[in-house]
Structures are given as structure tokens and as C-alpha cells.
């Protein structure tokens, strides 16, 4: 389809003048939305509705304040003074020092709102009209940001789309300002519809995104935290418990989130977190929160040659407790350590996820930092069989343990539990759960096996305690083991006079975490490593800051050298500038040059772009130079000498050359 040209738009045509120098309605709407939001946020200051009315009335009249420095800034000073007098700056409920003080943001909002009103009433020169609108846009943004200084969601989430809609409509005013008059017909309805669809789609999409952030706030924060802090955060639903309770079900399957990454290969998979010595059916006590910890200074000596270093990265917090194997010689952390009587280690800094190092001794009989000799009182407590326990349990234990060395008797008990009880993730107790589990030969999960082992050992006079921790088994990378929340495990520790503390895990082999859960798929591991990348980079940067500085300095020096060398090479290779560039050759010469180029190419003579014809032909000894050079000389004379006969001669020479072939 074709039609005659619709319009002629002269460049010097009339410009669209803003009616009465007023702000566009859409921008006034955006400012009113921001004021409304601030009104609801900031103690409903009555000045804001007044400002809103003044703002709207600026659109209804063409009268404007004179454009004078004193009037403009004097009025601003007066209004600020009035606002300061009217409002109460102190807010007794504003106690959170982390963010901006509410009173300050309120005051800033009022001042910005007043400034918007003044700008609406000021006369602006047409040349700066666009900048004037831009400043008002910025002011409304500041006002809305001040209004967002609140924990209340409701009004902001309803007003924000209105504010943004008005702002988007206001941007049209920028496009048509200082431009030649537009077609009188304006935009087609289809285009207006298309624009409105785009705007409302954007608002809907944005609203949904904001809702999603709101809904998954904590996940988003957790995800974002890894970019801000050096630590790697993991969320989990189940895993280690600081106050263990014999539960009916133990199903940590959904929680494959990681708890620890151990760099090194521990000789002992049982990483104890906390030990419990008192059973009050169905719980083990005391809870970690009820204990008394004392500051300790772990020994500097890393032990003998059999010591093995394990670097542990914490990915989730275990109530500030430090997981470590029983054979730990010493632990090194950035933060001070605390320890209770059961050997449980705790980080002095609450919420810390800093990595730590464990020096583990490979001998299973080693008694280190976590093995505190029990005193008489402690020993007595470790031998208590609670009154809830059926006497038949004690009888059974004595019968199974038999006579002999305490260690041998304890191992008999362990073997009995392993062989006579099956493993099950669920357990529905009838009566006291431990009695039910031991006496009825029931299947249970690790908590039952560990508890049964402790009670039965105590029944035969061996001090024992219940230990909660992790079973570290999953190979993650070369020399690296990952511990997931689902690897949470429970076992028993028994005290033998000549051996010290010994780990006794009565859970059958098919009930340990390495047997009941398959390894996660490869994609999950890749995804985890990808998630770790920002934190690893941050960590690497933090650990190698000096190296980085040196590398940066070296890089800067090398870059400088390269730059200087490049400049020198460029300078040496620079083409001699033409003092006066010649005007472009006319069409006849261009056509002739093209023909000559083609003619040469047909004969395999390609003149490189950096060389002239003449120089190139001189360099070719294999050509009949005279014939070629004659043309080039004549062409150059025609090109630069402006002689008409040279042009004719050159054409004749070229034709002769073409015909000769």
C-alpha cells in the first residue's frame, strides 16, 4: 500500500508548550500517590493533605510565583520552619538504630512534598521545562522512598502500583516536550491499547514479583545473604536437635541441605555435637540452652605425628555448637570457645558460621579435648537408671552383659542391640518408649538404639551418656566429605576406667545414614557447588588480599608497559599525515580506478590496502611494469593535476590494456 506523503514536519516548526507551565496531570497523580503513602506511614501529618490540595490547584490556574531566587528559597526556608514547628520529631517507639530514624525520614518526606508543591507553582523557562519535570520525578521518588520506611505492608503494596502507573504515564510528557507539533490526529486507538496492555502487563508482573518476594522473604534473604557475607547459608527442616526427644518418626529424607563440609578424611565418622546424661522419658536432658559453659583455651599443641587436620566449614548453625569427633586433640577457631562438663564445645559468638580446624588423632583410644574425666558426682549421674525404666530392662542388660571386663560387657550389649533389633524410621510406642523398644524387641531408629545402649550400660554399672551428632560419610570431592542434615545420628559414649570415653554405636549397619539414604544426584551436587561459588570467591579474596594487591599492582605495571609499547609502535608506524587531503576523485576517475582494480585482480595482482598501486607495481619484478606504470602515472596526473587530457589519456591507456587481453 502506498499513499501520498502525509505531512511535512518542518524542523523549525512550532513547539508544544505546556499549558500554563503546569505539571502534567500524570505527574501530579504520582506526587499525590507518594504523598498519600507518606501520610499513612508518617503519623497522618495534616500538612500533607493541604499540600495535595495546593498541588492539584496549581493545575487549575495559570498564575505562577515569580521566578526569583529570594522568593524561591525564602519560601522553602519558611515552609521548612513551619513543618519543624508543627511536627513532633521524637518518636519514643522508634528504637531500632539499624535503619534511618523514623522521625528523620518523616521530616525529609514533608520537606520533599513541600518542594514538589513549590515547583508546581513556580514559573519555568521552556528551555528547562524537561529538567524541571525530571527533578519533580526524582522528588516523588524520594517522597515515596521516605514513605516506604515502614514495616506496614498493606498501604504501600496498594499505592505503589498507582504511583508507578502515574509515573509511566508522565514519561509521555518528556517525549512530546520541545518537539515539533505532532499530528493532530494523535495516536491510533490500537497503539494506545498496545501501550496500555504493556503498562498493565508490567504492573501485573511487577505486582506478582513483589508478592513472591513477600511470600518467600526468608528464602530470598537467605539466598542473598551468601553474596553479602562470607558464610554459606543453608536452610533445613530437620537434623540435629539440641534437646533430643524420642520421637515416633525420624524422617530426615527431605532435608538434604548441608550442615558441614569437612576438608580432610576423618578416621572417625561420628561427629559429636552434644552429649546428654539425664533421661526423663521421653527426652534427654539437659537441653543445650540450660547448660553452663565455661571459656576454655584449647591446647596449642596439635598432638603427635598421628594427628590429622580437618578443616570444617559450617553451612548451618547447630545452636553454636562445634561438631567434632571424640578423638579430637584440639580445635582452632577465630572465636573464643566454651565447653561444658560433658565435653560439648560451643562457639562464643552467637550465630557464627566461621570455619574451624580440628586436629584429630587417628588412634580410637585417644582421649583429647572432648573427653573430660568424670568426677564422682558426674560419674554417679552417668550411672543413674531413671525410675521410668522397667526393672526387667536392668535384668535383661545384666543377663546379656554377663561378667568380665566392662568394655567386653559393653560390647556384648552393643552386639545384642544390633543383632536383636531391626532398624525402622518410625516407631509407635506402647507405654514408655524405651521399655517398649528393649523388652519387646521392637524396631526403631538411632535415637532408640543409642538410648537403649546408654540405659543398659548404666544398668550393668558402666557410666554412659547419650550423644547427638552427625555421621560423616558422604564423599563430596577429592579429600572432602559433606555432612547433610539428614546425616544427623545418635549413639552412646561409655566410660571405662582404663580406656576413658569410647564411642559405642548400637544402631545396626543398615540403619546408619550411609545406608538408608542414597547419595544425592550429580545435578544437586553441581547446583550446591554453584551456590557455593560466590562465597568461595569472597573467601578466596579475603584470604589472598595481599596476593591480590600484588597481582593488581603487577597487572597495572604490565598494562602500563603494554600501553606504552603499543603507543611507541603506533607512533613509529603512524602514516605520514597528508598536510592537505585531496578532495574526493570524481565519478569518472572512480570508475576507472575500479576497472583497473578488477583488471589487476583478474591477473592475480592484488594491491594491499596499505600500499599504493605505484609502490606495489614497482615491487613486482615479474610484471611488465612499464605498461602498468604508464597508466598509473597518467591516472595520478589526472587525479591530482586536474588536467582534462590526462583523464582522456588514462582512459585510452586503460582501454588499450583491456583490449590487449
Amino acid at each position: 500500500m502506498s499513499a501520498e506523503p502525509a505531512s511535512i514536519l518542518a524542523s523549525k516548526g512550532s513547539t508544544q508548550v505546556n499549558q500554563g507551565n503546569a505539571l502534567p496531570w500524570s505527574l501530579i497523580g504520582a506526587a499525590l500517590a507518594a504523598m498519600a503513602a507518606h501520610y499513612l506511614t508518617a503519623n497522618r501529618f495534616n500538612g500533607l493533605p493541604v499540600m495535595g490540595v495546593l498541588l492539584v490547584s496549581s493545575r487549575l490556574t495559570t498564575w505562577r510565583l515569580p521566578n526569583h531566587f529570594l522568593i524561591s528559597y525564602g519560601l522553602r526556608a519558611v515552609i521548612l520552619a513551619v513543618i519543624l514547628t508543627l511536627i513532633n520529631q521524637t518518636d519514643p517507639q522508634d528504637t531500632d538504630p539499624w535503619y534511618l530514624q523514623q522521625a528523620d525520614t518523616n521530616l525529609a518526606g514533608y520537606a520533599v512534598a513541600a518542594d514538589i508543591v513549590l515547583r508546581a507553582w513556580e514559573r519555568r523557562a521552556p528551555a528547562v521545562a524537561r529538567e524541571g519535570l525530571g527533578v519533580v520525578v526524582l522528588m516523588t521518588a524520594l517522597l515515596f522512598a521516605a514513605a516506604c520506611d515502614t514495616y506496614e505492608r498493606f498501604h504501600i503494596q496498594w499505592i505503589a502500583p498507582i504511583y508507578v502507573l502515574c509515573l509511566l504515564l508522565a514519561f509521555r510528557s518528556f517525549a512530546v516536550m520541545n518537539q515539533p507539533a505532532r499530528s493532530e490526529r494523535g495516536l491510533r486507538p490500537s497503539l494506545i491499547l498496545l501501550r496500555m496492555i504493556a503498562i498493565f502487563f508490567t504492573l501485573g508482573f511487577a505486582g506478582a514479583s513483589v508478592y513472591a518476594v513477600n511470600r518467600y522473604q526468608y528464602r530470598v534473604e537467605n539466598w542473598a545473604m551468601q553474596f553479602v557475607h562470607q558464610r554459606r547459608g543453608e536452610t533445613h527442616e530437620i537434623g540435629f536437635s539440641a534437646s533430643p526427644r524420642l520421637s515416633n518418626i525420624f524422617d530426615p529424607q527431605p532435608s538434604s541441605s548441608r550442615a558441614l563440609i569437612i576438608d580432610g578424611e576423618p578416621s572417625e565418622p561420628h561427629f559429636r555435637v552434644a552429649a546428654f546424661d539425664t533421661y526423663q522419658s521421653p527426652e534427654w536432658k539437659p537441653a543445650v540452652s540450660d547448660r553452663t559453659f565455661a571459656a576454655i583455651a584449647p591446647p596449642e599443641d596439635a598432638g603427635s605425628a598421628r594427628t590429622r587436620l580437618l578443616k570444617v566449614t559450617r553451612l548451618s548453625n547447630t545452636d553454636d555448637l562445634i561438631p567434632a569427633p571424640l578423638t579430637t586433640a584440639t580445635v582452632r577457631t577465630e572465636d573464643p570457645l566454651e565447653q561444658d562438663g560433658s565435653g560439648t564445645l560451643r562457639d562464643n559468638r552467637s550465630g557464627s558460621l566461621d570455619p574451624y580446624s580440628v586436629f584429630e588423632v587417628t588412634s580410637p583410644a585417644f582421649q583429647g579435648l572432648l573427653c573430660i574425666n568424670p568426677d564422682k558426682r558426674e560419674r554417679a549421674r552417668l550411672l543413674v537408671v531413671p525410675h521410668e525404666i522397667d526393672p526387667r530392662v536392668i535384668e535383661l542388660a545384666r543377663k546379656i552383659a554377663g561378667t568380665g571386663e566392662p568394655a567386653v560387657r559393653a560390647f556384648r550389649l552393643q552386639e545384642y542391640l544390633r543383632s536383636q533389633h531391626a532398624y525402622s524410621l518410625s516407631f509407635q510406642p506402647h507405654g514408655e518408649p524405651l521399655n517398649d523398644f528393649i523388652l519387646n524387641g521392637r524396631a526403631g531408629h538411632c535415637q532408640y538404639f543409642a538410648s537403649a545402649m546408654v540405659i543398659m550400660a548404666r544398668a550393668v554399672g558402666i557410666p554412659a551418656r547419650y550423644v547427638a551428632g552427625f555421621y560423616a560419610h558422604e564423599q563430596y570431592a577429592e579429600g572432602e566429605i559433606v555432612v547433610r542434615q539428614r546425616d544427623a545420628h545418635a549413639w552412646a559414649e561409655c566410660w571405662f576406667d582404663r580406656l576413658g570415653w569410647v564411642t559405642l554405636d548400637a544402631t545396626p549397619a543398615d540403619g546408619r545414614p550411609d545406608q538408608i539414604f542414597p547419595d544425592p544426584p550429580d545435578w544437586k551436587r553441581w547446583w550446591e557447588k554453584l551456590n557455593d561459588l560466590p562465597a568461595q570467591i569472597r573467601s578466596w579474596l579475603a584470604n589472598n588480599s595481599n596476593l591480590l594487591k600484588e597481582l593488581a599492582a603487577l597487572g597495572a605495571v604490565i598494562a602500563l608497559c603494554v600501553w606504552v609499547i603499543r603507543k611507541i609502535i603506533d607512533w613509529r608506524r603512524r602514516p605520514t599525515p597528508l598536510a592537505a587531503p585531496y578532495p574526493a576523485p570524481d565519478k569518472q576517475l572512480l570508475e576507472m580506478a575500479g576497472r583497473f582494480d578488477r583488471w589487476m585482480k583478474q591477473r592475480g595482482i592484488v594491491c594491499p590496502p596499505e600500499s599504493t598501486w605505484r609502490a606495489h607495481l614497482w615491487s613486482r619484478n615479474d610484471l611488465p611494469n612499464d605498461a602498468y606504470l604508464n597508466f598509473v602515472r597518467t591516472y595520478d596526473r589526472a587525479r591530482f593535476g586536474n588536467r582534462a587530457e590526462d583523464l582522456v589519456n588514462a582512459r585510452e591507456l586503460l582501454e588499450r590494456m583491456e583490449e590487449s587481453v
Binding site: M1, A3, E4, P5, A6, S7, I8, L9, S11, Y99, R130, G134, V137, L138, A141, L142, F144, A145, C148, D149, T150, Y151, R153, A160, V164, L167, L168, A170, F171, R172, F174, A175, Q179, P180, R182, S183, R185, L187, R188, L191, L194, R195, A198, I199, F201, L203, A206, V210, V213, P577, A579, A580, P581, Y582, P583, F640, G641, N642, R643, A644
Partner: protein, 435 residues
């Protein structure tokens, strides 16, 4: 081309690649994002987005993330539209290829819409103009809403600020659809040369000295009515004379055939020599002063050439710095255009040009009667050059464009060259009409 512009303007039609600040591709890319991709509204909205993002990034407990989320999505949608909703039109343009500095040429553009929904907020503007050419209006011309197949015309001015040979790259059609914060565009390359002549004021009079030389082999005065061969005298008829030259009255009086004898008049053959020498080792201010003087000299040369073209002079040789041009187009024909073409492109020379052109002119000096030299200074070498011309019988008119005192006082050489006018910046600003 000496211009005082050092920092590119924010206008979307300008190219930044020839600014020293933007030699790296990254800086050019960033500048183009800011100046060309973002509309004025988009720049303000970017500031508003920064405010919301900074405030919303503190915590998700405060509500700053709500407007931050809205603004982020607006940018994402606008970015998508920028990539996928590009204008598609057919565009043709006509414009002159020569203009004087300071003038504005009109480009007449005809546009045909090729898209069904592509007619929203279309703006047409020149694409990446050189720094000394401005678009009028600066932000391009807004087109009316065009339906598919409909054509429209627009006129865009190109204000040429400085002389030179420029390449116009073509035009760009932009659309800020749908929000007016980011521009999507399609370029229509139409590479054309634009020659901007130096700005000059035509001279009312120019006193040109005449040399002693007779003008053999020149061009006859035949272009004006009433100008003809000069009558020399009568003599007896010789075989081969044209019978139309027989003076019948004299023949009747003397009884023998007498013919009239004529001699052809020849035009004065002149050379115009422009000094382009600006030493390299000058301080910034002195260098700028010399560059300004050089630009004035170029304008004066243009004015002199224009005057000579209007009079009976044939500018045979034109020397711009070390380059010598033979202008053989003929009298009153195209030599002024040729000189202006050269003057549009001439640049300063760091080497002393007189030493280069003197031997070249020596071969041709016998054909010259007058040389007009526009110098940037009066130095021994220039005086020697002028004296050499004088000794060879060529009349010399020297004009000096310079601020401040010359190396040698030109008034001391009045006896040789007559009065040597020295044109300062103030004189030039007032307007030089008599030399």
C-alpha cells in the same frame, strides 16, 4: 579542524568516537547507553530506580523493596521491548553536498511505514554525526503516527560549525515504546560526503599588484560582452591574412590591401599561497592562538580567491602549505570551487612549507604575474620567499593573519611589498572587506 568542543553533548545524534575521552570501546558503549539508549525521562527514572534500589536493598522488612521491584520489572520489560520492538520503515533522503561553515543545510527525508504496529513515538535523526555538525532539532524530528504503507516527509537541519570534509553516516529511526525510557532504533546507513567550506566574507576590494610579465599563452578575455581583441594598428596585407581583417577604407585610400592588426589581451595569471605552518613545539595556549590564526587565514584565502574569481584573474596555482595544486579549469569556471574544496580540507603543517613549495614554484614562476601570499607570520624565510618571487618579476601581495607581533616587523619591508596588512582576531571579528 580546530574546535573548542572537548566533551560530547548529550544529544542522541552525536558520535563520540573522535573524542579523546572515548577512545576505548567500553567508554563509548557506556556513553552511548547513557546518551542514546536512555531517553531524558529514562535518565531521571534511572536515578529514581537507584534511590529505590539502595533503600530497598537494606532489608526486606522495610517496604523499600516494593517500588524497587516495580522499577526493576519496568526496566526489564522496557529492555525486552527495546530488543524486539524496533522500527521498520523505508527512508530516503536528499541534501546538498557542499555548504559554508556556520550555515545549516536541510535534509529532506521521506519515510514510509512498513510495520503494522510500528508507528508509535517514532523519531528520526541523523546517526552519529561528527562533532562539528549539529542536528537541528537536537533530539531529531518526531513523526506523526504512521499507519502501514503511509509516507511522511520530515526536514532535519544539519548545522555545520567548522569547515572540513565529513562523512554523514545516515539516519536512525527511534522509538521509545512503550514507556519512553529506553530507545530502540534501526539505522539506515546512507554514507555521503559533506564538504564544509570555510566561512568567509566577500571582499569589496583587493589591491592586487601587477607584475612586469607579458602574458603569453594565457586565456583570452572572451567571456564578457564588450571585451575583445585590442587593436594594434594597420599594415599591408600578407598572404595568409584573414580577409575579414581587411580595412576597406584604408585599402581604398592607399590602393593596396591593408589589414587591421590585433593583439589578444591575456588575463593575469596568479598564484594564491596559503601558509599552513604551525610548529609542533608550542604551548597549549600559543598553539590554540596559532590554530585560530590559521583558521582566519583559511577564511581570508577563501575571500581572496572569491574576489579573484569575480575579477579578471586566473588563479593558476594554489599552494596550501607544502602542497601545490595546478588549477587549470579556466577563467570564471570552476577554479573557485576547486580552491574551496581544498580549503575545506586543508590542515596545518608542522614542517616549514615554504622550503617545500619554493622549488616547485620556481619551475612555473615564468608563467605567473601575481602571487598573493597569506602568511601566519613574517619571518626571514617568508620574506626571502617573497623577495625571490619579486626578483623573478612576480608581483607579491602579502597578507598576514596573526595575533600579536610578528617575528619581523612587516612594516619595515614596505618598500618591497607595499603595505602588508596584518589581520588580528579583532580585525577579523569586525569583518575584513578591503585588503
Amino acid at each position: 579542524m580546530a574546535t573548542k568542543l572537548r566533551f560530547p553533548p548529550l544529544g542522541p545524534s552525536k558520535d563520540v568516537s573522535d573524542y579523546p575521552l572515548f577512545t576505548s570501546g567500553v567508554s563509548r558503549w557506556l556513553w552511548r547507553i547513557y546518551a542514546q539508549r536512555l531517553t531524558p525521562a529514562g535518565r531521571w527514572f534511572a536515578l529514581a530506580t537507584a534511590i529505590f534500589s539502595m533503600y530497598g536493598g537494606i532489608s526486606l522488612n522495610l517496604q523499600g523493596y516494593v517500588p524497587a521491584g516495580y522499577t526493576a520489572i519496568i526496566w526489564i520489560i522496557a529492555g525486552g521491548a527495546m530488543l524486539f520492538y524496533r522500527p521498520r520503515i523505508h527512508l530516503t533522503c536528499r541534501n546538498p553536498d557542499r555548504v559554508c561553515a556556520g550555515e545549516t543545510i536541510d535534509c529532506d527525508i521521506e519515510i514510509q511505514q512498513l510495520r503494522r504496529f510500528g508507528g508509535a513515538d517514532l523519531v528520526v535523526m541523523p546517526h552519529r554525526l561528527p562533532r562539528s555538525i549539529d542536528s537541528v532539532p537536537e533530539d531529531g524530528v518526531v513523526l506523526s503516527d504512521l499507519q502501514k504503507g503511509v509516507r511522511a516527509r520530515a526536514r532535519i537541519g544539519l548545522r555545520c560549525l567548522a569547515r572540513g570534509e565529513f562523512t554523514l553516516k545516515g539516519f536512525r529511526v527511534e522509538s521509545g515504546f512503550p514507556f519512553g525510557i529506553l530507545r530502540s532504533w534501526r539505522t539506515y546507513p546512507m554514507q555521503r560526503k559533506l564538504l564544509v567550506y570555510p566561512k568567509f566574507v566577500p571582499l569589496a576590494s583587493l589591491s592586487i599588484p601587477t607584475g612586469r610579465r607579458y602574458q603569453p599563452g594565457g586565456v583570452a578575455l572572451v567571456s564578457h560582452l564588450g571585451e575583445s581583441f585590442e587593436y594594434l594598428g594597420n599594415r599591408e596585407y600578407r598572404e595568409g591574412d584573414n580577409v575579414r581583417d581587411i580595412d576597406w577604407r584604408a585599402t581604398a585610400r592607399s590602393d593596396k590591401p591593408i589589414v587591421r592588426e590585433w593583439v589578444e589581451e591575456y588575463m593575469l595569471r596568479a598564484a594564491v599561497i596559503l601558509d599552513t605552518h604551525i610548529p609542533k613545539k608550542l604551548k597549549t595556549r600559543a598553539m590554540q592562538q596559532r590554530r585560530d590564526s590559521f583558521e582566519r587565514a583559511v577564511s581570508v584565502t577563501a575571500a581572496v580567491s572569491d574576489f579573484m574569481a569575480r575579477q579578471d584573474y586566473l588563479v593558476d596555482l594554489f599552494a596550501a602549505g607544502p602542497n601545490l595544486y595546478h588549477l587549470t579549469a579556466g577563467r570564471s569556471l570552476a577554479y573557485l570551487d576547486q580552491i574551496l574544496d581544498i580549503l575545506a580540507c586543508v590542515d596545518s603543517s608542522p614542517t616549514e612549507p615554504m622550503e617545500v613549495i619554493e622549488p616547485q614554484i620556481a619551475d612555473l614562476i615564468s608563467r605567473l604575474s601575481t602571487a598573493i601570499c597569506v602568511f601566519l607570520d613574517w619571518t626571514p624565510s617568508r620574506r626571502e620567499f617573497a623577495q625571490r618571487l619579486l626578483r623573478e618579476g612576480v608581483a607579491v601581495k602579502a597578507i598576514i593573519c596573526r595575533d600579536g607581533p610578528c617575528t619581523i616587523d612587516p612594516s619595515a619591508d614596505e618598500s618591497f611589498f607595499g603595505e602588508i596588512p596584518v589581520i588580528s582576531a579583532a580585525d577579523f571579528a569586525k569583518g575584513v572587506s578591503v585588503l
